[in-house]
Amino acid sequence: MKAFTFERARTLAEAANAARKPGAKFIAGGTNLLDLMKLEIESPQHLIDVNGLGLDKIELLPDGRLRVGALVRNTDLASDSRVRRDYGVLSRALLAGASMQLRNKATTAGNLLQRTRCPYFYDTNMPCNKRHPGSGCSAIGGFSRQHAVVGASSACIATHPSDMAIAMRVLDAQVETARADGSVRTIPIADFHRLPGNTPHIETALEPGELITAVTLPKPVAGTHIYRKVRDRSSYAFALISVAAIIEPNGAGRVALGGVAHKPWRVEAAEQAMGSGARAVADKLLAGARTTEDNAFKLVLVHRTLHAVMADAKKG
């Protein structure tokens, strides 16, 4: 690990000020960033500990939305009685991810900012456009079983590893941030993560020094909340594919996919086909898919998992 200076920010203004230092990075749970720092995939020169900013509350807003502080731990979000009752898809997605030790540390904002688990991103001996823009993509033509089937580019076929973010996408959550100049803004989750294009190293809409302060959930969304994750082990493994869904008794609803793209994958137009069965929805969700020999199974897996989810919803 490269050496770095360290400070604990006590206010947003302090954090914003500190973020101007060269090579500065915020740290909260640290469960992903420290792992990457040990491998020198990330080498911040200055770490700003934001754990003291008091952004660890979950509050019900007067209009019925639920505001989740950036520093709320994954365990606390999954266990919150309002989340368990009204946002089951989110609780389920969180509990399907990582281990209890990691969920006890990992934060809401940090979970959104997780970096890919592409093995070539982790292998510093191999070209990777995320690690070294312009160096090439080793996954294209390499082992690509875990990789993206939609929205990828010739520069990168990595997937986003988060379960939580898939549920946030199906709920249409809003990401609240504070910019380095003190201004604040709200980014719809649909626009928060980027597709790789020619700049796969730029993964989110955040500007340098911009800090996530909260993620706000809409008013409770009626319907059966389901998160179905398919993986190589039944616990403590990343998704091959996952389905987050909220389905009403009449079969209408919304659905988002994990493990298939560089960002949580939702195609609102596909949801018009919910009444026509899983095949119709899957075809629309995965229109234009480009697979490799290794990951072509994901198309079949999405269809079958979606079928199972829709059948479960019917049972109630």
């Binding site: 690990m1 490269k2 050496a3 770095f4 200076t5 360290f6 604990r8 740290i27 640290g30 469960t31 420290l34 792992d35 040990k38 020169q45 770490l47 500990d49 754990n51 365990t75 999954a78 266990s79 009685s81 368990r84 009752r85 089951g88 609780s91 389920r92 509990l95 399907a96 990582a98 281990s99 209890m100 030790q101 990691l102 006890n104 540390k105 616990s235 403590y236």
Partner: protein, 213 residues
């Protein structure tokens, strides 16, 4: 006469000597900085207060020091083990402010004022924690390397179920989770045992869970 009679190194000493040799061999390469590279930041140290097993420690540490290394290398509490050092195996599990975490994925300087419980704080050889006694009774280990982490997790699992924290296998998110083998297995999945003592570990935890608190 045995030619090894004068060698009294313990297995631990040997492991340390081996690690030092490897480090020494690596130094010349590390010093040979590539030409034109940005100057490296010199090591930085910072002060941190840690409450470990009820005792306060003030440490001056390189900011890169993980909580795991602070415990093992600076406080000589070597019960907590370093397995993968990447949060994948659970050997480094400790309880920080009442919650189990991977101490390898946390910087010591981020634990200012934290209260840490390690395996040494749970029990001692003359006064075992009930979970330690149950692991012995049920043979919940073979080599023992993952055991301190397993025990810190196991103690926390029972606490988490009592607190009503749901898991991936809880059928009803809104009900009190049950003390079933399925729940315990899911909650222990962050602790790997390469000897494969899982079924005995489950027996040990079930035994402790079944006793009145």
């Amino acid at each position: 006469m045995n030619e090894f009679d004068d060698i009294t190194l313990t297995r631990r000493d040997l492991l340390i000597a081996g690690a030092l040799t490897a480090t020494a061999a690596a130094v010349p390469q590390a010093l040979a900085a590539p030409q034109g590279a940005a100057p490296e930041q010199a090591p930085v140290s910072a002060k941190v207060n840690l409450q470990v097993n009820g005792r306060t420690h003030v440490l001056e540490l390189d900011t890169r020091t993980t909580l795991l290394d602070a415990l093992r290398e600076h406080l000589q509490l070597s019960g907590t083990k370093k397995g993968c050092d990447h949060g994948q195996c659970g050997a480094c599990t400790v309880i920080a402010d009442g919650r189990r975490i991977n101490s390898c994925l946390s910087l010591a300087v981020m634990h200012e004022g934290s209260s840490i419980t390690t395996i040494e704080g749970l029990g001692a050889s003359d006064k075992l924690h009930p979970m330690q006694a149950a692991f012995i009774k049920h043979d919940g280990y073979q080599c023992g390397y993952c055991t301190p982490g397993q025990i810190c997790s196991a103690v926390s699992v029972l606490q988490e179920i009592k607190q009503g924290i749901p898991s991936h296998v809880s059928a009803d998110l809104n009900a009190q989770p049950l003390l079933t083998p399925e729940e315990i297995r899911e909650r222990m999945s962050g602790n790997i045992c390469r000897c494969g003592a899982y079924s005995n570990i489950l027996d040990a935890i079930t035994d402790v869970a079944g006793r009145p608190a």
